[in-house]
């Protein structure tokens, strides 16, 4: 049964989307809500079914019945394995959560909102399931087109328009670069199916063409994933998009870029680059570390809470890029586990920020000083979320982080563990600081630059209903998501299961077997890995570090004032430079993009010879 439903998770939202768009303007609100929810729940269930089926053995579904002929692919396949289908399930689940969250407060425009959310979901799900490189780019664009429009949902304000323009232009250029990369691979191999391209490249020496194709494809996906210096659009877009959309952006869309890089590396380039693993690892771990550090520092420097959360996402994406770049199954398993934990946590945190925005019409940390006292439950949720970001043992994010640390040690990159601890401490600490200031009224009330609060205030409400009352759903949904973070990683067998599927993910020769020749491949059996005392130690350090960072942010002003000028001035100057670089000017962003991709290209051309 399961293989037959393979296309339905995409088709269901593709049918429901036009329905709400066409009928929505005449239909009552409940109709649009029900169609949206039904389609999202159905897609979640269908993806889950596929994931469960693929757990037995992964399979390819040939659309239109165009199975490979004469040993060559002719049609398009959905190549469904557990990690891909699992990620699709997770995307659809977050869409369901976001739609539930917006049920009672969001001022949805005549079915257009629901329609775009469903198309966005279809794009993400198709992106996770497809086995064809061009089809991957097509679904990337479905996702992007819906995302650009949703970012600028509040057209009556300035920020959303500017954020959406930067988002749209940067990501489009990334996508055009990917078309060039795809063309190069097609010219070389005469194939578009990822398994077949991988098989055709085989273990031949990777020449310039293959390397440039890889750089352009990775460049496009890393633009979506917001790797430094391709990341500038992210904070602009996340700071201004409506909350339910931010939930999807930070929770899963950005991470899909990392997924695509992993998918492409293992299924297309792993064979031809097998002699250069050390160099590939060095280049992309370097990129990941840069992203993680810049994101963590910028996160701490923000007072606009949505921007703060956005930079925390960049920082975590840096960790994920490192995890993929270790080039081991364990790294993939760590990313998979952490991705789920981080996605749920970040979704919940954005939802908490949404409650504040709804209630007080501002999202500036200092503006909100102490005003959160009347919302103790939201404060509790935010605090728990912060601790999850700091990877408090023994919950899901901790599990993911432990796997990443083991993968780092296994790949000989022990020092990266320090970076991971720094990221957890800084991002967790920044959110704890916000929690302390807003919900407990700790720390000074005046920020260093009062003028900056302007950007965080809303002229208009995205909500219906009176702001003196918070709809229970707005608290319930993030609470459920956080309970998920607490429990998922503790389910016996969950993390070892991910490890086994990740081991399957990196078997690129077996991938070609089951996609192109319909072989039945079973999941490899691994010895269960143990969480060592070291892992607990690292996470305790990061949790304590987060508390320290938070107290420094809240009560540290006297300390900072007493710093010798020789130390204080450079720090302030550096912060000023960092703010200045994130200028919001699209010309700057594209200059950075060109330089970034050019440098990555140059380094790869030299390092992978």
């Amino acid at each position: 049964m399961a293989p037959h439903i393979s296309a339905l998770p995409v088709v269901v939202p593709f049918l429901a989307g036009p329905l709400v768009v066409a009928v929505g303007q005449f239909a009552p609100r409940w109709f649009n809500d029900s169609v949206g929810m039904l389609a999202a729940v159905a897609a979640t269930a269908l993806c889950a079914l596929l994931a469960v089926h693929a757990a037995q053995h992964p399979f390819a579904y040939w659309l239109g019945g165009w199975t490979p002929r004469y040993g060559t692919t002719i049609g398009i396949s959905l190549s469904i394995d557990t990690l891909g289908a699992g990620l699709a399930t997770f995307s659809a689940l977050l869409v369901t959560a976001a739609l539930t969250y917006s049920l009672r407060y969001f001022d949805a425009v005549e079915g257009l909102y629901h329609g775009l959310m469903l198309l966005f979901m279809a794009g993400m799900v198709g992106f996770c399931l497809t086995g064809d490189l061009f089809n991957l780019l097509v679904f990337f664009e479905v996702m992007s087109a819906a995302a650009y429009a949703l970012t600028a949902y509040k057209i009556e304000e300035r920020g959303p328009i500017q954020g959406a323009i930067n988002f749209g232009i940067t990501n489009s250029i990334g996508a055009y670069g990917m078309f060039i990369g795809l063309a190069l691979l097609y010219a070389r191999t005469g194939a578009l199916n990822m398994a077949e391209i991988g098989a055709a490249l085989g273990s031949h020496h990777a020449d310039w063409l293959v390397i440039v194709a890889m750089v352009l494809l990775f460049g496009g996906f890393l633009t979506k994933a917001a790797a430094v210096p391709l990341h500038f659009w992210l904070a602009d877009a996340h700071a201004v998009a409506p909350i339910p959309v931010c939930v999807l952006f930070s929770g899963v869309m950005v991470e899909l870029g990392v997924y695509a890089v992993a998918r492409l590396y293992w299924q297309v380039f792993a064979g031809t680059l097998s002699a250069h693993e050390i160099a590939v690892r060095a280049v992309f771990v370097g990129l990941g570390v840069m992203t993680a550090l810049l994101g963590a520092v910028m996160c701490f420097l923000q007072r606009h809470v949505k921007r703060l959360l956005a930079f925390s996402t960049i920082s975590h994406v840096g960790m994920f890029i490192c995890g993929v770049a270790f080039l081991t199954g364990k790294g993939i398993a760590g990313v998979g586990t952490y991705l789920v934990g981080h996605g749920l946590t970040k979704a919940a945190l954005f939802m908490c920020a949404g409650v504040l925005l709804h209630r007080f019409a501002t999202i500036d940390e200092y503006d909100l000083h102490g005003r959160g006292r009347e919302l103790p439950l939201v404060g509790l949720l935010m605090g728990v979320g912060a601790l999850m970001l700091a990877a408090l043992p023994p919950f899901t994010t901790f599990m993911g982080k432990s796997l990443l640390e083991e993968a780092a040690a296994g790949a000989g990159y022990n020092w990266v563990i320090v970076v991971f601890i720094f990221v957890s401490a800084m991002t967790g600490g920044a959110v704890l600081r916000v929690t302390g200031r807003v919900f407990l009224g700790w720390g000074p009330t005046e920020g260093p630059h009062p003028g900056q609060a302007e950007a965080a205030r809303e002229d208009t409400h995205e909500e219906t209903g009176s702001p003196t009352h918070t709809p229970p759903l707005m608290v319930l949904v993030p609470a459920v998501l956080l309970v998920g973070v607490l429990l998922l990683g503790l389910i016996p067998g969950a993390v070892p299961g991910i490890e086994r599927f990740a081991a399957q993910f990196v078997e690129h020769k077996a991938y070609a077997g089951w996609v192109l020749h319909g072989l039945r491949v079973s999941v490899p059996v691994l010895p269960p890995s143990h969480i060592s005392a070291d892992d607990y130690g690292y996470s305790l350090i990061s949790t304590v570090g987060a508390l320290a960072v938070a107290s420094l942010g809240l009560f540290g002003r006297p300390v900072r004032a007493r710093l010798p000028d020789a130390l204080g001035h450079p720090a302030e100057a550096a912060a000023g430079v960092l703010h200045g670089v994130h200028s919001g000017h699209i010309g700057d962003y594209i200059t950075w993009w060109t330089a970034g991709v050019g440098v990555i290209g140059g380094v790869c051309l030299v390092a992978l010879r």
Partner: protein
């Protein structure tokens, strides 16, 4: 960054970029000597398998029809997005009371000669568009090209200086439905394949004989669905943009 710094940095980065691209392109087979595995296979087998004389259409609407599904929904998503972004806000009112004023003020530049040409153009465009949509599997063209040409018909009314007449011929509700129904139909035709022959998007129509109007299985149906969607989508996008030029600013 200040403008000179930005341009200077781009001069270096762009030069680097073009070098990287050209180094990659050196690995390409020289122009005119493609060793197209996939394309050759399609060229060899398509005629016998699908009875379409335009192989590009066969790829578009059958072999790689799933890409086209995605493509149609990129279009649908962007049109929905444009409707969302250009929606009228409270306070932005259409100046209904000055309808004739709009006619004058909008496109008054059209001379009588241009108006005449435009009016003659309309039936030609509609006929040409319909031809392209229905002959996709036989000759160059198909749902997309035909759809845009069809959408250009009402635009010719606009050229004739009759903005409101254009909106009467093609009201927004009609365009939205055409857009949505076309997109949904494309997905539904695929679903028929799943229900009747067991695989999504598998052909379940008779193939007919090559060169005939009703041949090549489901391709004409898919082409029609796409034509419907594209015509609605483009005209809706144009209308949204043109309406913007008719909206007054919120007063105060």
């Amino acid at each position: 960054m200040s403008r000179p710094v930005r341009l200077g940095m781009f001069a270096v980065a762009g030069a680097g970029m073009i070098v990287v691209l050209l180094l990659g392109f050196t690995g390409l087979p020289s122009f005119g000597h493609a060793h197209e595995l996939y394309g050759a296979l399609v060229n060899r087998t398509e005629d016998k398998l699908r009875h379409a004389t335009d192989i590009v259409t066969a790829l578009n609407f059958d072999i790689r029809a799933f890409d086209t599904l995605g493509e149609e929904f990129i279009l649908f998503a962007s049109v929905t997005g444009v409707s969302l972004l250009l929606r009228q806000l409270r306070g932005e009112k259409e100046e209904d009371q000055e309808q004739e004023g709009i006619e004058e003020h909008a496109f008054a530049g059209a001379s009588d000669g241009l108006k005449l040409v435009s009016l003659i153009l309309i039936p030609v465009l509609v006929a040409e568009g319909a031809y392209l949509v229905f002959h996709g599997q036989l000759t160059p063209g198909g749902g997309f090209q035909g759809g845009v040409v069809l959408a250009a018909g009402p635009i010719a009314i606009l050229l004739a200086g009759r903005y409101l007449a254009m909106k009467a011929v093609a009201p927004k509700v009609l365009l939205e439905s055409s857009d949505a129904i076309g997109a949904a139909c494309y997905a539904l035709i695929g679903l028929a394949g799943l229900i009747f022959v067991g695989t999504y998007m598998k052909n379940m129509m008779p193939l007919g004989s090559p060169g005939h109007l009703l041949s090549a299985g489901m391709m004409p149906l898919n082409s029609t669905a796409v034509g419907l969607e594209v015509a609605g989508a483009f005209l809706l996008t144009w209308t949204e943009f043109l309406d913007q030029t008719m909206i007054g600013e919120p007063s105060g």
